[in-house]
């Protein structure tokens, strides 16, 4: 009986999934889902999941109630606030559904046609751990498997005819004994660290930061799905760079100039000191409006990248967010210098509409 409802429940989840899939581009562009993630799930607002019927526009019509109060006494808010008064049967409105983050990532993969990330070669990052899943004939008494031992003894006694139904005493001998055994599992320790670098100079406005926040939500969703443990680090820079927490990252506003090399320097230092590529899959995402200070600094940037960042990182992504002030030259410098690099991805994000394509570009490498 329970299976029946499970089937329909699954079907419902598929329906939800279909809607999310259809609306994925919209969600990415508007950033509606940002900040809606809970533990392991995202709560997604969905319209029109109920079956439409001809019905009255009851919102304005009101109804009949019971209780104290003078005419004019408020009794509740209109239904779009979620607290409709009388007459609303429960279950008529599901405005939000919860979708597991893993599921959302799978939907992303299907819609954006993302390849799974190829693991780094196993001997680089590997951990050994064991689990007691095997059975051996020898072992310490503390690991004796009672049931298996009993079963062996029972089998032997029945086979040899020494089993007495009236007096069912089972005495195991040495050959009957079974022990739990440890099996070593070699599994890649899938840890990843994501560095988000952002230009917070005066030319990056709220609109630009919103784009970055939106990008980071989807990148996190995807990488969390691919790796077991994901750490995010945030670096802001203008002429100086510093590491900050997530909230500060999205809410800082500086007015200074821009020296991108400061951020690259800091990121490279952090990677070398705290997140060595032998233990971590390193991802670097840098967002800027592409306006770097003076000619000399860009050369410094290229040098740090080719010598320190690129060898360490699985992927280096640069997203150039259009702003009314930025000259946007930096992306050209990068594309000139790293045309042949496998792990460099560059994208221009000129409007919200392009978020979708840039994410596809960033994560489409399978690295």
């Amino acid at each position: 009986m329970v299976q029946r409802i499970d089937r329909d429940l699954n079907r419902f989840r598929q329906v939800v999934r279909g809607i999310v899939k259809k609306e994925l581009r919209k969600f990415m562009v508007t950033g509606e889902l940002v900040g809606r993630q809970g533990r392991g799930y995202v709560s997604i607002p969905i319209r029109q999941i109920e079956i439409p019927t001809f019905r009255h526009e009851t919102r304005k019509f009101g109804g009949v109630g019971q209780g104290d109060g003078e005419p004019g006494t408020p009794i509740g808010r209109a239904e779009n606030d979620g607290h409709g008064p009388a007459g609303d049967a429960p279950g008529e409105h599901i405005a939000e559904v919860e979708v597991a983050i893993a599921e959302l990532a799978r939907i992303m993969a299907e819609e954006l046609e993302l390849p799974n990330i190829r693991p780094k070669s196993k001997d680089i990052i590997e951990a050994e751990h064991g689990r007691f899943t095997g059975i051996h004939k020898n072992g310490p008494e503390s690991l004796r498997h009672f049931r298996r031992t009993f079963r062996e003894a029972l089998k032997r006694q029945i086979a040899s005819g020494s089993y007495d139904v009236a007096n069912p005493v089972i005495i195991p001998i040495k050959e009957d004994k079974r022990y739990r055994a440890r099996r070593t599992v070699h599994a890649p320790e899938t840890n990843a660290v994501i560095f988000y670098l952002m230009d917070v100079s005066g030319s990056m406005g709220d609109e630009q930061k919103d784009v970055v926040r939106n990008e980071s939500f989807w990148i996190n969703t995807w990488l969390r799905h691919q790796y077991k443990g994901v750490v995010t680090r945030f670096i802001v820079h203008d002429a100086e760079a510093r590491e900050v927490d997530e909230h500060t990252f999205f809410h800082t506003r500086e007015s200074g100039g821009t020296r991108i090399s400061s951020a690259y320097q800091l990121a490279a230092d952090l990677i070398e000191s705290e997140c060595p590529p032998s233990e971590f899959n390193v991802y670097v995402f840098h967002f800027s409006d592409g306006d770097n200070w003076g000619g000399g600094d860009t050369q410094v940037c290229l040098k740090i990248m080719s010598e320190r960042l690129l060898p360490a990182a699985n992927l280096f992504c640069y997203g150039q967010v259009a702003s009314p002030y930025g000259s946007g030259a930096f992306i050209n410098d990068l594309s000139g210098a790293f045309k042949a690099s496998e792990n460099v991805v560059l994208a221009e994000i000129n409007s919200r509409e392009e978020i979708y394509d840039s994410i596809k570009k960033f994560l489409g490498k399978g690295r």
Binding site: E57, P74, R77
Partner: protein
Amino acid sequence: MSTTEQLELASLIGEIEDYARRYGLDFFPVVFEMLDYEGINMVASYGGFPTRYPHWRFGMQYEYMQKSYGYGLHKIYEMVINNNPCYAYLLNSNQMVDQKLVIAHVYAHCDFFKNNAYFKNTNRRMMDEMANHGNRVADYMSTYGRDVVEDFIDVCSSLENLIDPNALFEPAERREDRRMTDDAVPLRDVARLKSKSYMDPYINPPEYLERQRNAMNEARAQQQFPARPVKDVLGFLIEHGPLSNWKRDILSMVREEAYYFAPQAQTKIMNEGWASYWHEKIMTQKALRASELVDFADHHSSTLAVHPGQLNPYKLGYELFHDIERRWNTGRFGKEYDECDDIARKAAWKRDTNEGREKIFQVRAIYNDMTFIDEFLTEEFCREHKLFTYSLNERNGRYEIADRDFRAVKEKLLFQLTNLGHPFITVVDANFENRSELYLKHRFDGVELRSDYAKATMEALYSAWTRPVHVQTQVGDATVVLTYDGTTHRERALSAADAA
């Protein structure tokens, strides 16, 4: 649940059944089933029928109920199914005193199902019927593909409120299964004789076909079809829609289920009121032990609780039955009482008629919510129970108490009960503009249609009818016709002359 508890419960059921019979309740045999909360949520998601056809919306209901049970927002104590025998589901985590109350409640529901006139023509073997529907739908799914069938069920469910609840007084056979044996689609064009392509111009001469077509169109143009507006839109689609056999079958299942559930929607207030009246009587006069009093009072009062600004159908029905009993016990009825203007005399009215019990049994047999409220909701009752109407204050988006006037309250309540609260929609013309387009008319009673839902529903209607559909309705002061032609929605205003 332990064996001793089960035995105790079994003897309780016997005991309460006996009390119920001695009070004069008359019911089908009742089969009780004990379920855990997951089980009862599941049964509730299927509308009481665990064997119902597969559809995602039941899964949605279930998810919703599981969540709100998990968060402690609501709990289903019991469910009763109108069937012979009646099936009643009890929640196994209920306390014994709750079970007692619920069992008494169940017997009163069963009495209502058996004796109320509006249930007279409902299928009392619905449990089996639903299982048959489930199997048939599963068959169609394996033959035609799950998605295709499911999409069509979506379409049907969109239209399921387009029925005529008064048709319940027709004998059941006329509403029943209309499965057809041939795959015939109603003629849209002149019939042609079968022929090889090179012979076609000779066997079916184009001039002749043209003449025939003109004659047919002329004949069609002259006669209005349907001759009178049809309220049972589902029935109309089944008989005249260009549907293949399996689609017609599914549509008739959905329609049959809609007709089965309609009387329950028509008698919600009465049915719950009746059951609450009797669980109270049976408990307080017979079944309750002294030690259970507090728990009983707690449960009973939460069933009848009034939340600010809400109308509780249990409470309204319960109080009305009590009011009726009181009035008919003290002679507060009839011409003399109705015409009395003296409030003091009315309040002190006393005739030893003592027909109260008899009267409420009669009421439960021949009324539905609509006629019940119309007949028995008095001005005194309205004042005593503090009923009011509320409406939306556009300025701050809040609902506010609008009026405590008896007439306004009653009018609004009756409006909500008219046609089960659904808009009144009929098929007026199935050959609109002589192009087989479907023309529906919404009878405007002061409340507009919700336009987003109307549009989506018209899309569903289009996929069943396969030709453009029109709905005449009112928006603001203007009469408008909404049209969906398979690709776009249009809306045009009708002049007053056309509207008539």
